[in-house]
């Protein structure tokens, strides 16, 4: 299995032993050993993959690194968090995903009418299975638990992803609308109920 490790908060080191890993195009900063880089298709091969890509058109290009050696990934000096997965499913903002194992299955999920102004596409990426993923965030990723008795409200730009049995709603709060912050389109919040964990970043996109 590939080994994911962070080297300081902003660099991800992936060790491959005749293995492959997928990452955002252009995020490789250095490598040792013999590694080959190729374009890869987000959403997978075949017609369903093509449809997914057309629908999402999230502008996300993925590359595959394969071979034996160590590859260093980074993206715009953002902080990186490694999340090991053992069978569960995580929903994550497509632009926050940096690198992931090929053993994981990715898909897209419709995130609802979030409004064009927030600059976050209409779709999120789902990742499921066994393997490692590396997530980028501006400022260290914060994980907050949601339980039936403690629902959570989150600023849309701070939202990165969630896992578990969680329901995501949009709340248009009149009082909140007075809180138009530095980014436009902040007239709503996310509300999370259910049981699971929400990932947020302490920054705006």
């Amino acid at each position: 299995m590939t080994r994911f490790r962070t080297n300081t908060d902003r660099l991800l080191e992936v060790t491959l032993q005749d293995e492959k890993v997928l990452a955002i195009a252009g995020s490789m900063v250095a490598y040792t050993g013999s590694i080959k880089f190729e374009k890869s298709l987000l959403g997978g091969e075949g017609i369903f993959g093509a449809i997914k890509r057309k629908v999402t058109s999230e502008g996300m290009q993925v590359m595959q690194a394969s071979g034996t050696g160590t590859v260093l990934f980074a993206q715009n000096a953002a902080e990186i968090t490694v999340i090991p997965m053992s069978g569960e499913k995580i929903t994550i903002e497509s632009s926050s995903l940096l690198t992931y194992d090929t053993s994981l299955k990715t898909g897209t999920s419709f995130a609802g009418l979030r409004g064009a102004a927030s600059g976050q596409g209409l779709f999120s990426t789902t990742v499921e299975g066994h393997g490692n993923i590396a997530v980028i965030s501006k400022g260290n990723l914060i994980m907050l638990e949601v339980t039936p008795s403690t629902p959570l409200r989150v600023d849309p730009d701070a939202f990165v992803g969630f896992k578990g049995d969680i329901k995501q709603e949009f709340v248009f709060d009149v009082n909140w609308r007075t809180m138009v912050g530095q980014t436009s389109g902040e007239s709503y919040q996310h509300k999370f109920t259910g049981q699971g964990v929400v990932f947020i970043q302490p920054a705006e996109r």
């Binding site: 080297n7 300081t8 908060d9 902003r10 660099l11 955002i24 195009a25 252009g26 490789m28 900063v29 250095a30 490598y31 040792t32 050993g33 590694i35 080959k36 880089f37 190729e38 374009k39 290009q61 590359m63 260093l72 980074a74 993206q75 715009n76 000096a77 953002a78």
Partner: protein, 213 residues
């Protein structure tokens, strides 16, 4: 020798004892004591270097700080890393320089020297100019990076390939060459110029930052 101290990841403090250092224009954020500032050019060897710099537009205005006291340097929220130079040559991109000792011998190295024609191509395409700055002697150099900079060890058995836009500098007995990977070239990354990588072999350290310029 001026004493460099890393205050935090974005700030460095230099203590001067009737000494002099050069720093990037606009990077001085505070000082205490009796320090005088004056403008300077990147010190080089003779008229030839000056002429070369004029041609290549690498003329880089610096501020010299001289006297006794403490000077604090930082720039635009970028990370600062102090690289010690101990009787060796440090190659570093001039646009990442924050501060360096006046006692170090600074020069410009035509990238073509390291790898002939390929060197020129690399300079032109990566947009970093045809020249890079060299420092020799004993002293410290403080550099800027977007996100932290780390030094990757290069050994004869393990050469290191680096994305040119993450490359900041290197020290040691290293030779650099360009690697063009056909598969890589088919792949249009977010940043242009990703159709080649820099390969470093030999013995030394390569410095990279956690982002691309």
């Amino acid at each position: 020798m001026p004493a460099y101290q890393q205050i935090n990841e974005k700030m460095v403090e230099v203590t001067l004892n009737n000494e002099e250092i050069f720093a990037k224009k606009g990077a001085m954020i505070s000082y205490q004591g009796d320090v005088a500032f004056s403008r300077s050019f990147l010190a080089g060897q003779g008229i030839q270097s000056m002429a070369m710099r004029a041609v290549t537009n690498e003329g880089y205005a610096l501020m010299a700080a001289r006297g006794t006291g403490k000077v604090f340097y930082a720039y635009d929220g970028l990370f600062v890393t102090i690289i010690p130079v101990r009787n060796e040559t440090l190659y570093v991109e001039s646009d990442v320089l924050l501060a360096f000792d006046a006692r170090l011998t600074a020069g410009t190295m035509f990238l073509g020297n390291q790898g002939g024609v390929q060197g020129i191509v690399r300079g032109a395409v990566s947009g970093q100019g045809l020249f890079t700055t060299t420092f020799q002697g004993n002293g410290e150099v403080a550099i800027l990076s977007d996100g932290n900079a780390i030094g990757l060890p290069v050994t004869p058995e393990v050469p290191v390939c680096v994305d040119p836009q993450a490359y900041i500098g290197h020290t040691g007995n290293i030779s650099s060459s360009i690697v063009t990977d056909l598969n890589w070239k088919t792949f249009v990354g977010q940043a242009s110029g990703e159709s080649y990588q820099m390969k470093f072999s030999g013995s030394g350290t390569v410095y990279i930052q956690a982002s691309e310029r």
